[in-house]
């Protein structure tokens, strides 16, 4: 193995030009998505040209154009410039993450006519997850994954003074990607579900995989904590900033009085299980690995997440949390006043179903963690 060397294209004082571009793109698309959800909850009516849509497509274009330019300049450059890249279709060269970003841009472009037809055929979809939205979500996720991979390769090759910088940038990229995962599963994380099995089943299916993968790829001492901290900070910013802007519904029927942009729910309390996962990573003996390590990580995630989120649910699903800090009065304009969320009560869950659901969640958390370990170990080795 050759000794570590400065990252490609980077001077000792800076980072490669494309890295800020893809990180800004990653931030743009995910903030755009959250803004768009708020727009649909508040104003309802939209066009292609809403600022939220512009943020999403700006992110897509920025990543696609930056990476496309990178491909051109690298492919037409000297052989030495190909050293840090992967080859594509025999003639093109670029970092792996750039290809993933470009793929994401094309997926986003593909989703537009598909989504338009979907609306004409089946009406405007009011759910977050529909087939065309999934193509868009895959594109957005790919842009964020591409940004992560580009940062990761630089982190894994970095040494000396530049290493801490890339470790932090990696945590930011990872946090933004993780934020995407939480948004895609939003419908299962609503506060009225905090005492329902599906809340924990979906959380254990998705979150341990992401957290363990991203943590194993990091060189930070507290990687899971850092990733969930980025998630928490961005979410809190959206919870606190969006309601500062006056807005009223432009669609009906209107069941709720809405005067300002509706914020998302308060962030999930993922910092607690993240700290525990980091402690396990730090203190696990070398012999604890594979499925046994996954079992410990999965069980720890479920126990800590269940404990904090279940307890928080009592407060968060009560009228006491209907204030600007927690924003549990974030009713969207068409929420009927008969809804559990409006009445701040939990839907009934049978004890047997809850126990079965938690057992399922435990199994999912372990399997999810094991997959995370495998993917994370691969991330640690990515250098191009």
């Amino acid at each position: 193995m050759e000794p570590p060397r400065p990252a490609s294209g980077a001077g000792t004082a800076g980072v490669p030009w494309y890295l800020p571009a893809v990180l800004v793109a990653s931030l743009c698309v995910i903030v755009g998505v959250m803004w768009d959800i708020s727009w649909h909850s508040t104003i309802g009516r939209d066009t292609f040209w809403t600022p939220a849509h512009m943020a999403i497509y700006l992110g897509g274009l920025l990543a696609g154009l930056a990476c496309g330019w990178l491909v051109l300049t690298t492919s037409l450059g000297s052989t030495a410039a190909h050293a840090d890249t992967v080859r594509f279709w025999r003639v093109f060269y670029a970092p792996l993450g750039a290809w993933v970003c470009i793929w994401g841009t094309f997926a986003m472009l593909t989703s537009a006519p598909f989504d338009n037809w979907w609306h004409n055929a089946y009406g405007l979809d009011v759910e977050i997850l529909s087939p065309p939205h999934t193509v868009l979500a895959l594109g957005i996720a790919a842009i964020q994954l591409g940004a992560l991979l580009m940062t990761l390769a630089l982190q894994n090759r970095a040494s000396g003074d530049e290493a801490p910088r890339y470790r932090l940038l990696y945590a930011v990229a990872a946090g933004l990607l993780f934020l995407n995962a939480t948004i895609m599963t939003t419908e299962y994380h609503r506060r009225v579900l905090m005492h329902a099995p599906v809340f924990y089943e979906v959380a254990c299916l998705v979150f341990p995989f992401y957290l363990v993968t991203l943590a194993r790829g990091s060189r930070l001492r507290w990687p899971t904590t850092a990733v969930t901290a980025v998630y928490t900070v961005v979410m809190l910013a959206m919870v606190w900033i969006l309601p500062l802007f006056p807005a009223t519904p432009r669609l009906g029927p209107i069941y709720q009085t809405v005067t300002h942009m509706v914020p998302p729910d308060f962030p999930l309390l993922l910092l607690a299980p993240a700290i525990v996962l980091d402690l396990i990573f730090q203190r696990a003996p070398p012999s604890l690995r594979g499925w046994r390590l996954a079992a410990v990580l999965g069980a720890a995630f479920l126990v800590v997440f269940l404990g904090t989120q279940w307890a928080f649910g009592y407060f968060y699903n009560s009228p006491a949390s209907a204030n600007w800090v927690f924003a549990s009065d974030n009713y969207y304009y068409a929420l009927p006043k008969t809804a559990y969320a409006y009445r701040h009560v939990f839907p009934p869950v049978r004890a047997g179903a809850l126990v079965r659901g938690l057992v399922v969640a435990l199994v999912l958390a372990v399997v999810s963690s094991r997959l995370g370990l495998a993917c994370g170990d691969w991330l640690r080795r990515v250098k191009r």
Binding site: M1, E2, T110, H119, A121, L124, R250, K383
Partner: protein, 499 residues
């Protein structure tokens, strides 16, 4: 509603739809096969015509066109109002924009976000002051839209490109991503890369199958919300020697009381029409009376034997107007059975229609009804010249009287039964729905169906009547125009060929 005339077709699955031909099935809820809503009348001091074109999917946008016939107008606004929330839960009104090249005409597009009974509130301000009118409509999913071949091919290409790109990324990632900078790719890595691409291809194939199943599931869910009129049963029974049509609502939604009760529309709970099929040479406009909340009965006039299409217009208290469809057969004996009309406003006609495009019809009392259509070619989806005048047998203009509160009634059907519309000079809207919304706006929801709402004018009327309507598609149509003259209900029959 075409759901009865055309049984719902299976939604093409996700992959099939990519290659399917674009076929648009247009349907409606109130009336059959004629989804567009036409209104003509007063909005305060302004005489207006309003056309609303529902898109057939929900949520979606409706096109609204407003024409002001008298005087200048400063501003026209339109607002969709859902029956359950009223104006308090309606979005702010939109300003309708002038239509280029058509003075006095304004247009707008409004979002209807849910299914059910709506009204489009039209408000006009101008030199004559302010005026408003509500135009009731029904928001319902009524159609399926397969994908055009061009779009399907384009998406297939893009999809294939995405899959190919993804496999290339997997190949590159497993081959080179973990190599140190500048390190060569050894044969072992190449083999591993090929295996990874093969495994990824299998996973992507499974994912695509899963996506296809998801798409099919979404299409099935969509089909569940496609409007289906209330299931019903129509039978002719012998009652003390008389032939009586028994009309029963058998739909679980009705029996389970999931819908609001019926209210009278211009005085009758049900307007039931019989049209002899296939010749359309006999027609009846009857008004069954309730026996209980599910069953209605009406004596059947002496009509020729044969199969009859049944169209029953009803209005729910929510303002939702719908036309229920069925068929009955009049058996031997029915044309000679004793008959006493159930309702004094029942009417029927077994005169064969005039020859194609004839413009005169001799009525039962010898009067002549003339269709003042001029030389105009009737074109689908363009307002048709439906102007009629009545002269007495001695050639004088007839003095008409309201028939069930209306200057005239027109029933329009296409020869294949795919279109049936019951309209009035005020258009295709249900008057009862308009009254219900008017009273709901003022906060009065409890007495909306009382006699005050249904009060009928008894004024004398001019000898001419007009109907605002556009035929929904080309074909051969028959129209029955009904007026009251000298105490009798008279029916003129006309045929129209629509290009």
């Amino acid at each position: 509603m075409t759901a009865a005339a055309h049984p719902a077709r299976r939604m093409p699955n996700g992959l099939t739809v990519l290659a399917a031909l674009a076929v648009l099935t247009v349907a409606g809820v109130a009336h059959v096969g004629s989804p567009d809503v036409y209104y003509r009348g007063a909005a305060g001091p302004y005489q207006v015509g309003v056309v609303v074109r529902p898109p057939g999917v929900v949520p979606a946008q409706v096109d609204v066109v407003i024409q002001v016939f008298n005087g200048d107008v400063g501003r026209v606004t339109v607002q969709p109002v859902y029956w359950e929330t009223g104006t308090a839960g309606a979005p702010p009104p939109d300003v309708a924009q002038p239509l280029a090249g058509a003075p006095g005409t304004y247009e707008s597009r409004l979002w209807l976000m849910t299914t059910g009974s709506y009204t489009i509130d039209v408000a006009i301000t101008g030199p004559r002051g302010t005026g408003a009118v509500n135009v009731p409509i029904v928001s319902a999913a009524t159609r399926e839209l397969p994908m055009s071949p061009v779009l399907g091919a384009g998406l297939l290409l893009l999809g294939a490109f995405l899959v190919f790109g993804l496999l290339s990324i997997v190949g590159a990632a497993s081959r080179e991503a973990t190599l140190d900078p500048g390190a060569p790719v050894d044969p072992h890595r190449r083999a591993r890369s090929r295996a990874a691409v093969a495994a990824a291809a299998a996973i992507f194939a499974l994912a695509l199958l899963g996506g296809n199943a998801w798409w099919n599931s979404s299409a099935r869910n969509y089909r569940r919300i496609i409007y289906v009129p209330l299931a019903n049963r129509a039978t002719i029974v012998d009652s003390a020697g008389e032939h009586v049509l028994r009309f029963e609502l058998t739909d679980a939604r009705w029996l389970g009381r999931e819908q609001t009760p019926l209210v009278p529309d211009h005085g009758k709970l049900v307007h039931l029409f019989l049209v002899r099929s296939p010749g359309m040479d006999a027609f009846a406009h009857l008004h069954p009376v309730t026996r209980d909340s599910n069953e209605f009965r009406v004596a059947v006039p002496r009509l020729p034997l044969g199969t009859y299409r049944v169209y029953a217009d009803i209005v729910h208290r929510s303002g939702l107007a719908e036309t229920l469809v069925n068929t009955v057969r009049i058996f031997p004996g029915g044309d000679a059975a004793p008959f006493t009309p159930t309702d004094s406003d029942d009417s029927w006609s077994s005169m064969p229609g005039a020859s194609r495009d004839a413009t005169h019809a001799t009525l039962a009392d010898g009067s002549i009804m003339t269709w003042d259509r001029g030389d105009t070619t009737i074109v689908a989806n363009q307002l048709a010249p439906l102007h009629f005048s009545v002269r007495t047998p001695d050639g004088r203009p007839a003095v008409l009287r309201p028939y069930m509160g209306m200057a005239a009634h027109a029933m329009v059907t296409r020869d294949d039964g795919s279109v049936f519309v019951h309209l009035h000079p005020m258009g295709t809207i249900a008057m009862a729905a308009q009254s219900l919304f008017d009273h709901r706006q003022s906060g009065d929801t409890s007495r909306a169906t009382d006699a005050r709402v249904m009060a009928m004018p008894a004024a004398t009327l001019p000898d001419t009547v007009s109907f605002p309507y556009a035929f929904p598609k080309p074909g051969h149509y028959r129209m029955w125009i009904q007026v009251r003259h000298d105490g009798r209900v008279l029916t003129g029959t006309f045929d129209a060929t629509v290009r």
